[in-house]
Protein backbone atom coordinates (compact mmCIF):
# COMPACT_ATOMS: atom_id res chain seq x y z
CA UNK A 1 0.00 0.00 0.00
CA UNK A 2 2.73 2.44 0.98
CA UNK A 3 4.71 1.47 -2.10
CA UNK A 4 1.69 2.08 -4.27
CA UNK A 5 1.27 5.59 -2.88
CA UNK A 6 4.95 6.44 -3.29
CA UNK A 7 5.08 5.07 -6.81
CA UNK A 8 1.99 7.04 -7.78
CA UNK A 9 3.43 10.26 -6.42
CA UNK A 10 6.71 9.70 -8.25
CA UNK A 11 4.78 9.06 -11.46
CA UNK A 12 2.99 12.37 -11.06
CA UNK A 13 6.18 14.37 -11.56
CA UNK A 14 7.06 13.41 -15.16
CA UNK A 15 3.39 13.69 -16.09
CA UNK A 16 3.24 17.22 -14.65
CA UNK A 17 6.46 18.14 -16.43
CA UNK A 18 5.02 16.95 -19.73
CA UNK A 19 1.82 18.90 -19.23
CA UNK A 20 3.74 22.00 -18.13
CA UNK A 21 5.97 21.82 -21.21
CA UNK A 22 3.10 21.18 -23.60
CA UNK A 23 1.11 24.09 -22.20
CA UNK A 24 4.16 26.38 -22.33
CA UNK A 25 4.79 25.50 -25.97
CA UNK A 26 1.13 25.94 -26.90
CA UNK A 27 1.06 29.39 -25.31
CA UNK A 28 4.29 30.59 -26.92
CA UNK A 29 3.60 29.22 -30.37
CA UNK A 30 0.55 31.31 -30.89
CA UNK A 31 0.45 34.46 -32.94
CA UNK A 32 -0.05 37.66 -30.99
CA UNK A 33 1.29 38.57 -27.58
CA UNK A 34 -0.40 39.53 -24.33
CA UNK A 35 0.20 43.25 -24.91
CA UNK A 36 -1.34 43.39 -28.37
CA UNK A 37 -4.54 44.95 -27.09
CA UNK A 38 -2.74 48.10 -25.95
CA UNK A 39 -2.44 49.46 -29.45
CA UNK A 40 -0.87 52.85 -28.92
CA UNK A 41 2.04 52.03 -26.65
CA UNK A 42 5.31 53.72 -27.64
CA UNK A 43 7.89 51.15 -28.81
CA UNK A 44 10.15 51.83 -25.82
CA UNK A 45 7.44 51.00 -23.31
CA UNK A 46 6.54 47.90 -25.31
CA UNK A 47 10.19 46.83 -25.22
CA UNK A 48 10.36 47.46 -21.48
CA UNK A 49 7.21 45.46 -20.86
CA UNK A 50 8.53 42.57 -22.91
CA UNK A 51 11.89 42.73 -21.15
CA UNK A 52 10.18 42.68 -17.74
CA UNK A 53 8.43 39.43 -18.60
CA UNK A 54 11.42 38.00 -20.52
CA UNK A 55 9.30 37.92 -23.67
CA UNK A 56 12.23 39.33 -25.68
CA UNK A 57 14.46 36.35 -24.96
CA UNK A 58 14.83 33.25 -27.13
CA UNK A 59 12.23 30.56 -26.57
CA UNK A 60 14.60 28.12 -24.91
CA UNK A 61 15.73 30.73 -22.42
CA UNK A 62 12.10 31.59 -21.64
CA UNK A 63 11.50 27.91 -21.04
CA UNK A 64 14.48 27.83 -18.66
CA UNK A 65 13.11 30.76 -16.66
CA UNK A 66 9.73 29.11 -16.65
CA UNK A 67 10.94 25.78 -15.28
CA UNK A 68 13.06 27.53 -12.64
CA UNK A 69 10.03 29.44 -11.46
CA UNK A 70 7.81 26.37 -11.43
CA UNK A 71 10.25 24.40 -9.29
CA UNK A 72 10.15 27.23 -6.77
CA UNK A 73 6.35 27.06 -6.83
CA UNK A 74 6.09 30.47 -8.49
CA UNK A 75 3.56 30.47 -11.30
CA UNK A 76 4.59 33.90 -12.57
CA UNK A 77 2.92 37.25 -13.00
CA UNK A 78 -0.40 38.02 -14.61
CA UNK A 79 0.00 40.23 -17.66
CA UNK A 80 -3.47 41.65 -17.34
CA UNK A 81 -4.14 42.08 -13.64
CA UNK A 82 -1.00 44.14 -13.07
CA UNK A 83 0.65 43.86 -9.67
CA UNK A 84 -1.02 40.54 -9.08
CA UNK A 85 0.93 37.33 -9.26
CA UNK A 86 -0.68 34.19 -10.62
CA UNK A 87 -0.16 32.60 -7.20
CA UNK A 88 -2.07 35.47 -5.61
CA UNK A 89 -4.99 35.24 -8.06
CA UNK A 90 -5.24 31.48 -7.87
CA UNK A 91 -4.95 31.29 -4.09
CA UNK A 92 -8.04 33.51 -3.95
CA UNK A 93 -9.86 31.71 -6.73
CA UNK A 94 -9.10 28.14 -5.74
CA UNK A 95 -11.10 28.03 -2.47
CA UNK A 96 -14.13 29.46 -4.27
CA UNK A 97 -14.04 26.75 -6.93
CA UNK A 98 -13.28 24.09 -4.35
CA UNK A 99 -16.36 24.98 -2.30
CA UNK A 100 -18.58 25.14 -5.38
CA UNK A 101 -17.19 21.91 -6.81
CA UNK A 102 -17.51 20.02 -3.53
CA UNK A 103 -21.09 21.13 -2.95
CA UNK A 104 -21.99 20.17 -6.52
CA UNK A 105 -20.32 16.79 -6.14
CA UNK A 106 -22.11 16.02 -2.87
CA UNK A 107 -25.39 17.08 -4.46
CA UNK A 108 -24.73 14.90 -7.51
CA UNK A 109 -23.89 11.84 -5.41
CA UNK A 110 -26.81 12.25 -3.04
CA UNK A 111 -29.30 12.57 -5.89
CA UNK A 112 -27.65 10.40 -8.56
CA UNK A 113 -27.01 7.30 -6.48
CA UNK A 114 -30.53 6.86 -5.08
CA UNK A 115 -31.87 7.51 -8.57
CA UNK A 116 -29.70 4.70 -9.92
CA UNK A 117 -30.63 2.33 -7.09
CA UNK A 118 -34.35 2.97 -7.59
CA UNK A 119 -34.04 2.48 -11.35
CA UNK A 120 -32.10 -0.77 -10.99
CA UNK A 121 -34.35 -2.35 -8.37
CA UNK A 122 -37.43 -1.50 -10.43
CA UNK A 123 -35.83 -2.50 -13.69
CA UNK A 124 -38.07 -2.44 -16.70
CA UNK A 125 -40.89 -0.62 -14.94
CA UNK A 126 -42.19 2.85 -15.59
CA UNK A 127 -40.14 4.07 -12.60
CA UNK A 128 -36.95 2.83 -14.26
CA UNK A 129 -37.92 4.43 -17.55
CA UNK A 130 -38.59 7.73 -15.77
CA UNK A 131 -35.28 7.69 -13.88
CA UNK A 132 -33.38 6.98 -17.07
CA UNK A 133 -35.32 9.64 -18.97
CA UNK A 134 -34.35 12.20 -16.32
CA UNK A 135 -30.73 11.15 -16.58
CA UNK A 136 -30.70 11.25 -20.41
CA UNK A 137 -32.11 14.76 -20.23
CA UNK A 138 -29.46 15.67 -17.64
CA UNK A 139 -26.69 14.47 -19.95
CA UNK A 140 -28.13 16.33 -22.94
CA UNK A 141 -28.77 19.66 -21.26
CA UNK A 142 -25.84 22.05 -21.79
CA UNK A 143 -24.64 23.82 -18.64
CA UNK A 144 -25.43 27.25 -19.99
CA UNK A 145 -29.01 26.26 -20.85
CA UNK A 146 -29.59 24.85 -17.36
CA UNK A 147 -27.98 27.95 -15.85
CA UNK A 148 -30.04 30.37 -17.91
CA UNK A 149 -33.20 28.44 -17.09
CA UNK A 150 -32.54 28.46 -13.33
CA UNK A 151 -31.56 32.13 -13.34
CA UNK A 152 -34.69 32.99 -15.27
CA UNK A 153 -37.07 31.00 -13.08
CA UNK A 154 -35.61 31.56 -9.60
CA UNK A 155 -33.77 34.84 -10.06
CA UNK A 156 -35.82 36.89 -12.49
CA UNK A 157 -39.30 35.42 -12.40
CA UNK A 158 -39.78 34.26 -8.79
CA UNK A 159 -37.06 36.58 -7.43
CA UNK A 160 -36.21 34.24 -4.56
CA UNK A 161 -32.54 33.56 -5.25
CA UNK A 162 -29.64 35.82 -6.29
CA UNK A 163 -28.82 35.62 -10.02
CA UNK A 164 -25.05 36.02 -9.78
CA UNK A 165 -21.93 36.80 -7.73
CA UNK A 166 -20.44 35.03 -4.76
CA UNK A 167 -21.44 36.64 -1.51
CA UNK A 168 -23.64 34.63 0.83
CA UNK A 169 -24.74 31.04 1.23
CA UNK A 170 -27.74 31.78 -0.96
CA UNK A 171 -25.44 32.58 -3.87
CA UNK A 172 -24.16 29.02 -3.96
CA UNK A 173 -27.52 27.31 -4.60
CA UNK A 174 -28.13 27.99 -8.29
CA UNK A 175 -24.51 27.50 -9.47
CA UNK A 176 -24.22 24.28 -7.47
CA UNK A 177 -27.41 22.86 -9.00
CA UNK A 178 -26.27 23.86 -12.49
CA UNK A 179 -22.88 22.26 -11.97
CA UNK A 180 -24.36 19.10 -10.41
CA UNK A 181 -26.76 18.45 -13.27
CA UNK A 182 -24.40 16.53 -15.58
CA UNK A 183 -22.61 14.52 -12.86
CA UNK A 184 -25.96 13.50 -11.31
CA UNK A 185 -27.10 11.95 -14.57
CA UNK A 186 -23.73 10.28 -15.02
CA UNK A 187 -23.73 8.77 -11.51
CA UNK A 188 -27.35 7.59 -11.83
CA UNK A 189 -26.60 5.68 -15.05
CA UNK A 190 -23.49 4.14 -13.63
CA UNK A 191 -25.10 3.07 -10.37
CA UNK A 192 -27.92 1.42 -12.29
CA UNK A 193 -25.63 -0.57 -14.58
CA UNK A 194 -23.35 -1.53 -11.71
CA UNK A 195 -26.23 -2.85 -9.59
CA UNK A 196 -27.73 -4.76 -12.51
CA UNK A 197 -24.39 -6.49 -13.02
CA UNK A 198 -24.25 -7.54 -9.38
CA UNK A 199 -27.81 -8.88 -9.60
CA UNK A 200 -26.57 -11.51 -12.02
CA UNK A 201 -24.01 -12.88 -9.57
CA UNK A 202 -24.43 -16.37 -8.20
CA UNK A 203 -23.89 -15.32 -4.61
CA UNK A 204 -26.88 -13.02 -4.80
CA UNK A 205 -29.02 -16.02 -5.65
CA UNK A 206 -27.32 -17.95 -2.86
CA UNK A 207 -28.23 -15.24 -0.39
CA UNK A 208 -31.84 -15.50 -1.48
CA UNK A 209 -31.86 -19.29 -1.31
CA UNK A 210 -30.51 -18.99 2.23
CA UNK A 211 -33.80 -17.28 2.98
CA UNK A 212 -32.63 -13.71 3.20
CA UNK A 213 -35.31 -11.18 2.40
CA UNK A 214 -35.28 -9.06 -0.72
CA UNK A 215 -34.46 -5.84 1.14
CA UNK A 216 -31.69 -7.46 3.16
CA UNK A 217 -30.09 -8.91 0.07
CA UNK A 218 -30.14 -5.55 -1.63
CA UNK A 219 -28.63 -3.70 1.31
CA UNK A 220 -26.17 -6.30 2.59
CA UNK A 221 -24.97 -7.90 -0.61
CA UNK A 222 -25.88 -5.97 -3.69
CA UNK A 223 -25.25 -2.35 -2.71
CA UNK A 224 -21.95 -3.05 -1.00
CA UNK A 225 -20.52 -4.70 -4.06
CA UNK A 226 -22.19 -2.51 -6.63
CA UNK A 227 -20.84 0.69 -5.14
CA UNK A 228 -17.18 -0.30 -5.54
CA UNK A 229 -16.93 0.38 -9.29
CA UNK A 230 -18.63 3.72 -8.73
CA UNK A 231 -15.60 4.90 -6.76
CA UNK A 232 -13.58 4.78 -9.98
CA UNK A 233 -15.62 7.51 -11.61
CA UNK A 234 -14.36 10.05 -9.10
CA UNK A 235 -11.58 10.80 -11.60
CA UNK A 236 -13.82 11.51 -14.61
CA UNK A 237 -16.23 13.32 -12.27
CA UNK A 238 -13.49 15.73 -11.24
CA UNK A 239 -12.90 16.40 -14.93
CA UNK A 240 -16.62 17.03 -15.53
CA UNK A 241 -16.78 19.40 -12.57
CA UNK A 242 -13.71 21.32 -13.78
CA UNK A 243 -14.99 21.81 -17.32
CA UNK A 244 -18.44 22.53 -15.94
CA UNK A 245 -16.97 25.30 -13.82
CA UNK A 246 -15.83 27.15 -16.97
CA UNK A 247 -19.45 27.71 -17.92
CA UNK A 248 -21.03 27.94 -14.48
CA UNK A 249 -18.53 30.45 -13.09
CA UNK A 250 -18.85 32.44 -16.32
CA UNK A 251 -22.63 32.77 -16.23
CA UNK A 252 -22.90 33.35 -12.48
CA UNK A 253 -19.87 35.72 -12.41
CA UNK A 254 -18.16 33.69 -9.70
CA UNK A 255 -14.52 34.63 -9.08
CA UNK A 256 -13.23 31.04 -9.27
CA UNK A 257 -10.59 29.18 -11.25
CA UNK A 258 -12.89 28.40 -14.17
CA UNK A 259 -13.72 32.03 -14.83
CA UNK A 260 -10.11 33.15 -14.48
CA UNK A 261 -9.11 30.45 -16.93
CA UNK A 262 -11.69 31.55 -19.50
CA UNK A 263 -10.83 35.25 -19.22
CA UNK A 264 -7.11 34.50 -19.18
CA UNK A 265 -7.46 32.57 -22.45
CA UNK A 266 -9.27 35.42 -24.15
CA UNK A 267 -6.74 37.93 -22.76
CA UNK A 268 -3.80 35.76 -23.82
CA UNK A 269 -2.58 36.06 -20.26
CA UNK A 270 0.04 33.33 -20.73
CA UNK A 271 1.17 32.71 -17.18
CA UNK A 272 -2.35 32.68 -15.82
CA UNK A 273 -3.49 30.17 -18.47
CA UNK A 274 -0.52 27.91 -17.82
CA UNK A 275 -0.86 28.25 -14.04
CA UNK A 276 -4.55 27.39 -14.07
CA UNK A 277 -4.00 24.46 -16.43
CA UNK A 278 -1.29 23.11 -14.14
CA UNK A 279 -3.53 23.35 -11.07
CA UNK A 280 -6.30 21.54 -12.98
CA UNK A 281 -3.80 18.86 -14.02
CA UNK A 282 -2.60 18.40 -10.44
CA UNK A 283 -6.22 18.12 -9.27
CA UNK A 284 -7.02 15.47 -11.87
CA UNK A 285 -3.89 13.45 -11.24
CA UNK A 286 -4.49 13.57 -7.48
CA UNK A 287 -8.11 12.51 -7.98
CA UNK A 288 -7.09 9.57 -10.15
CA UNK A 289 -4.39 8.52 -7.71
CA UNK A 290 -6.89 8.62 -4.84
CA UNK A 291 -9.24 6.48 -6.92
CA UNK A 292 -6.55 3.86 -7.50
CA UNK A 293 -5.71 3.73 -3.82
CA UNK A 294 -9.34 3.62 -2.69
CA UNK A 295 -10.11 0.95 -5.26
CA UNK A 296 -7.24 -1.12 -3.99
CA UNK A 297 -8.43 -0.75 -0.42
CA UNK A 298 -12.06 -1.59 -1.20
CA UNK A 299 -11.26 -4.63 -3.27
CA UNK A 300 -7.82 -6.10 -2.60
CA UNK A 301 -8.32 -8.61 -5.40
CA UNK A 302 -7.73 -5.82 -7.89
CA UNK A 303 -4.11 -5.38 -8.84
CA UNK A 304 -3.54 -1.75 -9.74
CA UNK A 305 -1.03 -1.54 -12.59
CA UNK A 306 1.86 0.80 -12.53
CA UNK A 307 0.20 3.36 -14.86
Amino acid sequence: MFRLVVRRILLMLPLLWLIATATFLLMRLLPGGPFDAEKNLPPEIMANLKAKYHLDRPLLEQYGYYLQRLVKGDLGMSYKYLDRSVNDILSNAFPVSLVLGTVALILAISVGMPLGVVAATRRGTIVDALCMAVSTIGVSLPGFVMGALLIFVFGIWLKILPVALWESGWHIILPAITLACGPTAYIARLTRVSILQVFEMDWVRTARIKGQSYQQTIIKHVLRNALIPIVTVFGPLTAIIITGSFVVEYIYAIPGMGRFFVTAVSNRDYDLVVGTTLIFAVLLIVANTLVDIAYHMLDPRIQVDTL
Binding site: T121, G124, I151, R205, I242, I251, L284
Partner: protein
Amino acid sequence: MNLESLNLVKRSSNATIYKMLKMPVTTLASGIIFLLCVIAILSLLGLPLTAYAYDQTSEQILCAPSLSHWMGTDELGRDLLTRIIYGSRLSISIGFLVALIAFLFGTAYGAIAGFAGGRVDTLLMRGIDLAYALPDLLVMILIGVVVGRGTKGILLALGLVSWMGTARLVRAQFLHLKHEEFIEAARAFGLEPWRIIVRHLLPNAIGPIIVSLTFIVPSAILAESTLSFIGLGLSPPACSWGTLASEGWRSLRTQPYLIFWPSLFIFVTVLSFNLLGDGLADALDPKIRK
Protein backbone atom coordinates in the same frame (compact mmCIF):
# COMPACT_ATOMS: atom_id res chain seq x y z
CA MET B 1 -39.64 -22.73 -5.31
CA ASN B 2 -38.36 -22.13 -8.80
CA LEU B 3 -35.17 -20.25 -9.49
CA GLU B 4 -36.93 -17.51 -11.37
CA SER B 5 -38.75 -16.33 -8.27
CA LEU B 6 -35.43 -15.98 -6.45
CA ASN B 7 -34.29 -13.38 -8.91
CA LEU B 8 -34.27 -9.87 -7.62
CA VAL B 9 -36.08 -8.55 -10.60
CA LYS B 10 -39.30 -9.86 -11.89
CA ARG B 11 -38.61 -10.79 -15.46
CA SER B 12 -42.20 -10.95 -16.55
CA SER B 13 -42.63 -7.20 -16.31
CA ASN B 14 -39.10 -6.60 -17.41
CA ALA B 15 -38.63 -6.04 -21.08
CA THR B 16 -42.18 -5.13 -21.95
CA ILE B 17 -42.50 -1.51 -20.83
CA TYR B 18 -38.96 -0.74 -21.82
CA LYS B 19 -39.42 -2.15 -25.27
CA MET B 20 -42.76 -0.45 -25.62
CA LEU B 21 -41.19 2.91 -24.88
CA LYS B 22 -37.85 2.34 -26.52
CA MET B 23 -38.88 1.75 -30.09
CA PRO B 24 -41.10 4.81 -30.57
CA VAL B 25 -38.60 6.99 -28.69
CA THR B 26 -35.74 5.89 -30.93
CA THR B 27 -37.91 6.28 -34.01
CA LEU B 28 -38.98 9.75 -32.92
CA ALA B 29 -35.35 10.70 -32.24
CA SER B 30 -34.28 9.52 -35.71
CA GLY B 31 -37.19 11.43 -37.22
CA ILE B 32 -36.13 14.65 -35.50
CA ILE B 33 -32.52 14.16 -36.59
CA PHE B 34 -33.62 13.53 -40.15
CA LEU B 35 -35.76 16.66 -40.13
CA LEU B 36 -32.94 18.81 -38.73
CA CYS B 37 -30.52 17.42 -41.31
CA VAL B 38 -32.96 18.19 -44.12
CA ILE B 39 -33.33 21.75 -42.84
CA ALA B 40 -29.55 22.14 -42.59
CA ILE B 41 -29.01 20.76 -46.10
CA LEU B 42 -31.74 22.97 -47.60
CA SER B 43 -30.14 25.92 -45.87
CA LEU B 44 -26.71 24.92 -47.22
CA LEU B 45 -28.20 24.79 -50.72
CA GLY B 46 -29.43 28.31 -50.15
CA LEU B 47 -33.15 27.57 -50.40
CA PRO B 48 -35.22 30.18 -48.59
CA LEU B 49 -37.26 28.47 -45.87
CA THR B 50 -38.59 31.67 -44.34
CA ALA B 51 -39.58 35.04 -45.73
CA TYR B 52 -36.37 36.68 -44.53
CA ALA B 53 -32.65 36.50 -45.28
CA TYR B 54 -30.45 35.45 -42.35
CA ASP B 55 -28.70 38.83 -42.24
CA GLN B 56 -31.71 40.92 -43.22
CA THR B 57 -32.14 43.71 -40.68
CA SER B 58 -35.40 45.54 -40.15
CA GLU B 59 -37.03 48.30 -38.17
CA GLN B 60 -38.77 45.80 -35.93
CA ILE B 61 -36.02 45.30 -33.36
CA LEU B 62 -36.42 43.00 -30.34
CA CYS B 63 -39.96 41.98 -31.27
CA ALA B 64 -41.49 39.25 -29.15
CA PRO B 65 -42.53 36.13 -31.08
CA SER B 66 -45.48 36.93 -33.32
CA LEU B 67 -47.16 35.73 -36.49
CA SER B 68 -44.72 37.54 -38.77
CA HIS B 69 -41.67 36.59 -36.68
CA TRP B 70 -42.41 33.20 -35.12
CA MET B 71 -39.49 33.33 -32.73
CA GLY B 72 -39.10 37.09 -32.50
CA THR B 73 -36.30 39.36 -33.69
CA ASP B 74 -32.90 40.35 -32.27
CA GLU B 75 -31.43 43.78 -31.57
CA LEU B 76 -30.83 44.40 -35.29
CA GLY B 77 -34.33 43.31 -36.23
CA ARG B 78 -33.20 40.00 -37.74
CA ASP B 79 -35.70 37.15 -37.69
CA LEU B 80 -34.61 34.59 -35.09
CA LEU B 81 -36.16 31.57 -36.81
CA THR B 82 -34.27 32.40 -39.99
CA ARG B 83 -31.05 32.74 -38.05
CA ILE B 84 -31.60 29.43 -36.24
CA ILE B 85 -32.16 27.68 -39.56
CA TYR B 86 -29.06 29.37 -40.94
CA GLY B 87 -27.15 28.42 -37.77
CA SER B 88 -28.16 24.78 -38.11
CA ARG B 89 -25.85 24.36 -41.09
CA LEU B 90 -22.82 25.25 -38.93
CA SER B 91 -23.89 23.46 -35.75
CA ILE B 92 -24.98 20.24 -37.44
CA SER B 93 -22.16 20.09 -39.96
CA ILE B 94 -19.63 20.60 -37.15
CA GLY B 95 -21.19 17.62 -35.39
CA PHE B 96 -20.97 15.38 -38.45
CA LEU B 97 -17.54 16.58 -39.56
CA VAL B 98 -16.05 15.93 -36.14
CA ALA B 99 -17.59 12.44 -36.18
CA LEU B 100 -16.07 11.90 -39.64
CA ILE B 101 -12.63 12.98 -38.41
CA ALA B 102 -13.03 10.69 -35.40
CA PHE B 103 -14.03 7.83 -37.68
CA LEU B 104 -11.20 8.21 -40.21
CA PHE B 105 -8.39 9.08 -37.86
CA GLY B 106 -9.54 7.17 -34.78
CA THR B 107 -10.22 3.99 -36.73
CA ALA B 108 -6.87 4.10 -38.53
CA TYR B 109 -4.99 4.79 -35.30
CA GLY B 110 -6.85 2.18 -33.27
CA ALA B 111 -6.62 -0.37 -36.10
CA ILE B 112 -2.86 -0.01 -36.32
CA ALA B 113 -2.44 -0.22 -32.55
CA GLY B 114 -4.77 -3.18 -32.15
CA PHE B 115 -3.52 -5.10 -35.16
CA ALA B 116 0.17 -4.54 -34.57
CA GLY B 117 0.03 -5.12 -30.83
CA GLY B 118 3.20 -5.25 -28.79
CA ARG B 119 5.46 -2.21 -28.64
CA VAL B 120 3.68 -0.24 -31.36
CA ASP B 121 0.45 -0.66 -29.44
CA THR B 122 1.97 0.41 -26.12
CA LEU B 123 3.59 3.46 -27.69
CA LEU B 124 0.47 4.56 -29.55
CA MET B 125 -1.83 4.03 -26.58
CA ARG B 126 0.43 5.83 -24.07
CA GLY B 127 0.20 8.90 -26.30
CA ILE B 128 -3.59 8.79 -25.96
CA ASP B 129 -3.44 8.14 -22.22
CA LEU B 130 -1.45 11.32 -21.81
CA ALA B 131 -3.95 13.41 -23.76
CA TYR B 132 -6.72 11.78 -21.72
CA ALA B 133 -5.18 13.11 -18.52
CA LEU B 134 -6.73 16.50 -19.28
CA PRO B 135 -10.46 17.05 -19.84
CA ASP B 136 -11.64 17.46 -23.45
CA LEU B 137 -12.97 20.96 -23.16
CA LEU B 138 -9.75 22.21 -21.55
CA VAL B 139 -7.63 20.75 -24.35
CA MET B 140 -10.04 22.11 -26.98
CA ILE B 141 -9.76 25.59 -25.49
CA LEU B 142 -5.94 25.41 -25.44
CA ILE B 143 -5.80 24.14 -29.03
CA GLY B 144 -8.38 26.73 -30.05
CA VAL B 145 -6.09 29.46 -28.76
CA VAL B 146 -3.29 28.30 -31.03
CA VAL B 147 -5.19 27.47 -34.21
CA GLY B 148 -7.53 30.44 -33.96
CA ARG B 149 -11.22 30.73 -33.29
CA GLY B 150 -12.61 30.73 -36.80
CA THR B 151 -14.83 27.94 -38.04
CA LYS B 152 -11.84 25.95 -39.28
CA GLY B 153 -9.97 26.47 -36.03
CA ILE B 154 -12.86 25.22 -33.91
CA LEU B 155 -13.35 22.25 -36.21
CA LEU B 156 -9.67 21.39 -35.90
CA ALA B 157 -9.72 21.78 -32.11
CA LEU B 158 -12.79 19.54 -31.76
CA GLY B 159 -11.45 17.03 -34.29
CA LEU B 160 -8.04 16.79 -32.65
CA VAL B 161 -9.63 15.85 -29.34
CA SER B 162 -12.59 13.69 -30.34
CA TRP B 163 -10.93 10.83 -32.23
CA MET B 164 -9.19 9.36 -29.21
CA GLY B 165 -12.21 7.59 -27.77
CA THR B 166 -12.88 5.94 -31.13
CA ALA B 167 -9.23 4.88 -31.40
CA ARG B 168 -9.45 3.20 -28.00
CA LEU B 169 -12.65 1.42 -28.93
CA VAL B 170 -11.33 0.18 -32.28
CA ARG B 171 -8.15 -1.06 -30.65
CA ALA B 172 -10.07 -2.97 -28.00
CA GLN B 173 -12.32 -4.52 -30.65
CA PHE B 174 -9.35 -5.52 -32.79
CA LEU B 175 -7.45 -7.02 -29.87
CA HIS B 176 -10.50 -9.09 -29.12
CA LEU B 177 -11.24 -10.12 -32.72
CA LYS B 178 -7.65 -10.73 -33.75
CA HIS B 179 -7.56 -14.17 -32.21
CA GLU B 180 -10.85 -15.38 -33.63
CA GLU B 181 -10.71 -18.36 -35.91
CA PHE B 182 -11.86 -16.57 -39.04
CA ILE B 183 -8.94 -14.18 -38.78
CA GLU B 184 -6.54 -17.07 -38.35
CA ALA B 185 -8.11 -18.59 -41.43
CA ALA B 186 -7.59 -15.35 -43.35
CA ARG B 187 -3.97 -15.29 -42.30
CA ALA B 188 -3.50 -18.89 -43.25
CA PHE B 189 -4.92 -17.96 -46.62
CA GLY B 190 -2.02 -15.57 -47.00
CA LEU B 191 -4.00 -12.32 -47.09
CA GLU B 192 -2.04 -9.10 -46.63
CA PRO B 193 -2.53 -7.37 -43.26
CA TRP B 194 -4.35 -4.34 -44.71
CA ARG B 195 -6.80 -6.62 -46.46
CA ILE B 196 -7.46 -8.50 -43.22
CA ILE B 197 -8.04 -5.18 -41.46
CA VAL B 198 -10.35 -3.71 -44.10
CA ARG B 199 -12.17 -6.84 -45.21
CA HIS B 200 -12.42 -8.88 -42.04
CA LEU B 201 -11.67 -6.99 -38.86
CA LEU B 202 -13.38 -3.68 -39.62
CA PRO B 203 -16.73 -5.09 -40.79
CA ASN B 204 -16.92 -7.11 -37.58
CA ALA B 205 -16.13 -4.13 -35.41
CA ILE B 206 -18.31 -1.62 -37.26
CA GLY B 207 -21.36 -1.87 -34.97
CA PRO B 208 -19.77 -0.48 -31.81
CA ILE B 209 -17.88 2.08 -33.91
CA ILE B 210 -21.13 3.43 -35.33
CA VAL B 211 -22.67 3.60 -31.87
CA SER B 212 -19.68 5.56 -30.57
CA LEU B 213 -19.86 7.94 -33.55
CA THR B 214 -23.53 8.56 -32.78
CA PHE B 215 -22.41 9.88 -29.40
CA ILE B 216 -19.60 11.99 -30.89
CA VAL B 217 -22.01 14.09 -32.98
CA PRO B 218 -23.95 15.47 -29.97
CA SER B 219 -20.86 15.97 -27.86
CA ALA B 220 -19.28 17.99 -30.69
CA ILE B 221 -22.44 20.11 -31.03
CA LEU B 222 -22.45 20.58 -27.27
CA ALA B 223 -18.75 21.48 -27.18
CA GLU B 224 -19.07 23.99 -30.01
CA SER B 225 -22.04 25.72 -28.43
CA THR B 226 -20.44 25.76 -24.98
CA LEU B 227 -17.19 27.21 -26.35
CA SER B 228 -19.09 29.82 -28.35
CA PHE B 229 -21.21 30.64 -25.32
CA ILE B 230 -18.25 31.44 -23.07
CA GLY B 231 -16.65 33.45 -25.86
CA LEU B 232 -13.89 30.98 -26.72
CA GLY B 233 -15.51 29.44 -29.79
CA LEU B 234 -17.15 30.99 -32.80
CA SER B 235 -18.12 34.63 -32.63
CA PRO B 236 -20.31 36.80 -34.84
CA PRO B 237 -20.57 37.22 -37.80
CA ALA B 238 -20.32 33.42 -37.71
CA CYS B 239 -23.78 32.12 -36.90
CA SER B 240 -24.26 28.86 -35.02
CA TRP B 241 -26.72 27.87 -32.31
CA GLY B 242 -23.95 28.53 -29.80
CA THR B 243 -23.34 32.10 -30.94
CA LEU B 244 -27.10 32.74 -31.05
CA ALA B 245 -27.47 31.50 -27.46
CA SER B 246 -24.48 33.61 -26.47
CA GLU B 247 -26.10 36.72 -28.02
CA GLY B 248 -29.41 35.87 -26.37
CA TRP B 249 -27.77 35.47 -22.96
CA ARG B 250 -27.09 39.21 -22.81
CA SER B 251 -30.78 39.99 -22.89
CA LEU B 252 -32.04 37.15 -20.68
CA ARG B 253 -33.80 39.60 -18.40
CA THR B 254 -35.63 41.57 -21.08
CA GLN B 255 -35.96 39.22 -24.10
CA PRO B 256 -35.73 35.68 -22.72
CA TYR B 257 -36.96 34.18 -26.02
CA LEU B 258 -33.66 35.13 -27.67
CA ILE B 259 -31.81 32.53 -25.61
CA PHE B 260 -34.75 30.15 -25.26
CA TRP B 261 -35.09 29.15 -28.93
CA PRO B 262 -31.43 28.46 -29.77
CA SER B 263 -31.09 26.58 -26.45
CA LEU B 264 -34.14 24.47 -27.27
CA PHE B 265 -32.67 23.50 -30.65
CA ILE B 266 -29.34 22.56 -29.09
CA PHE B 267 -31.04 20.55 -26.37
CA VAL B 268 -33.45 18.69 -28.68
CA THR B 269 -30.68 17.88 -31.16
CA VAL B 270 -28.28 16.60 -28.52
CA LEU B 271 -31.06 14.65 -26.79
CA SER B 272 -32.17 13.04 -30.07
CA PHE B 273 -28.65 11.89 -30.91
CA ASN B 274 -28.17 10.50 -27.40
CA LEU B 275 -31.47 8.60 -27.61
CA LEU B 276 -30.58 7.29 -31.05
CA GLY B 277 -27.21 6.16 -29.72
CA ASP B 278 -28.89 4.35 -26.82
CA GLY B 279 -31.35 2.71 -29.19
CA LEU B 280 -28.60 1.61 -31.57
CA ALA B 281 -26.55 0.21 -28.71
CA ASP B 282 -29.59 -1.79 -27.59
CA ALA B 283 -30.38 -3.05 -31.05
CA LEU B 284 -26.79 -4.06 -31.57
CA ASP B 285 -26.33 -5.96 -28.37
CA PRO B 286 -29.32 -6.39 -26.10
CA LYS B 287 -27.02 -7.71 -23.41
CA ILE B 288 -25.07 -4.46 -23.03
CA ARG B 289 -27.82 -2.55 -21.25
CA LYS B 290 -30.06 -4.90 -19.40
